[in-house]
Amino acid sequence: MPVIDVIAQWGPRPNPIRASSVEAITSILQRFDIEKCILSATEGIRHDFVRGNERLAEAIDGEERLFGYATVNPNYVEASIGELRKYLYKEDFLGVVMHTSTLGIEIDAPEVKDCLNACRRYDKPILLYCYGDGEVRKLVAILEEFESLNFILAHMGGDAWENGMEVASDHFNLFLGPCTFHAARDHIKKAVEKIGDRRLVFGSDLTLINPAFVAGMVRDADLTVQQKERIFYRNAKELFGL
């Protein structure tokens, strides 16, 4: 079954992980039959987003399987809008990523809204990393205010994964990435029961997490082959227009 991995990162990490180069990532993708993989730059997430985007663009240039997210940092609204302009017209940049939890900024902060406002003109999905009950609940207002944008909630909201499902059940512009190691054995089945099978998109969190670890969750979930194919592949293909 082919796979599209929509939650992955490229670059060094503070963990004993050696598989962080483009070559290593490509070899992992081949091993797991991952046809396409959308990456954000670790440098952009934790440190300098402008430099991270620039290096990611160089790294994925000419790589058939690899695509990018432009990282924005709402603490730098003008520069973030500039990054959107710089990358979102490029064919290999398929979306925007925002790590509000890592940046210590609330998901409904005015600066986040300014960045999202600027995203409206590009019609590309926005990958959000926001964790915890409070932040996931605040997402409701964002999803309603920016109804024309599609969002993906990485890790289903982390330890607030049950709230992530709850919020997604009422908001059709929210997709969930089921990779979370907080979740219990039945979390994918429950998510399908709650939101249907069309808004779950496979994301491994490569290179932090082994795609096999997340693929095992989908493989073991009590779903039909067609539903699994949607999660592994078809939903992302449709969402990103691939």
Partner: protein
Amino acid sequence: MSSQRPIIDANTICGFWATRQMDISPEALARVMQQGGVARYLAVSTTGIFHDYRAGNDETLNLAQQFQGMVPVATVDPRQYVDCFSELERRSEQGFSLFRLFPDLQGYPLNFSPLQDVLAKLNELGKPVMIPAPQMGDATMLAEKVAFNQTPVILTSVSCDNLGEALSVMKSCAQIYLESHLLNSPDAFEVIVSEVGPDRIVFGSNAPLRYFASSYLSVTTAGVSDNDRANILGGNIRRVLAAKTE
């Protein structure tokens, strides 16, 4: 790609789960193990974790007599200081080959004198122990506590977040092993094998609480030799238990 030798799952539980609705009955566990092709699985009853370790250990023993392939694992709660030592002796005499401790679920810290005494007692009895080390600092603290122990100490719930720390303590403490259910970074097994060798990783799934295939596929797709893979999937824990799972 999987091993031809029998798979042993070193980390399973069964019983009742109070904090969310889940079927973790012994029947559900047996089903998952059968589907996964597991020959033997080391199980502990949740009664022993959340309610009463004596009753829980009795329950585990009874279940192991009913379910083919289940190997009983004993537990005690160090908060019940003094009495827990007679339970350790009794279960050791009964032939329990592994003991598990649950500071994360029972709410005591690793820096806890009764825990130190329980670990020392298990060492005196010659019994291996499995204990979680999910947070940064946990593995270091446990390594200090068991520095002079001879019997294996298996750390569980080590993940990509604290694998570096676990590797560091494994280099200084030969008796420290890793259970695999959260060894979830893309090359975790390759890194561990290259740094400390293949003999101190034991396969565990934490089923039926967690997805069996997550941990299983992580091992079967790892870039290690077939022999190392077979040892991770069963040979290493068999050695730790001194063939008592036979």
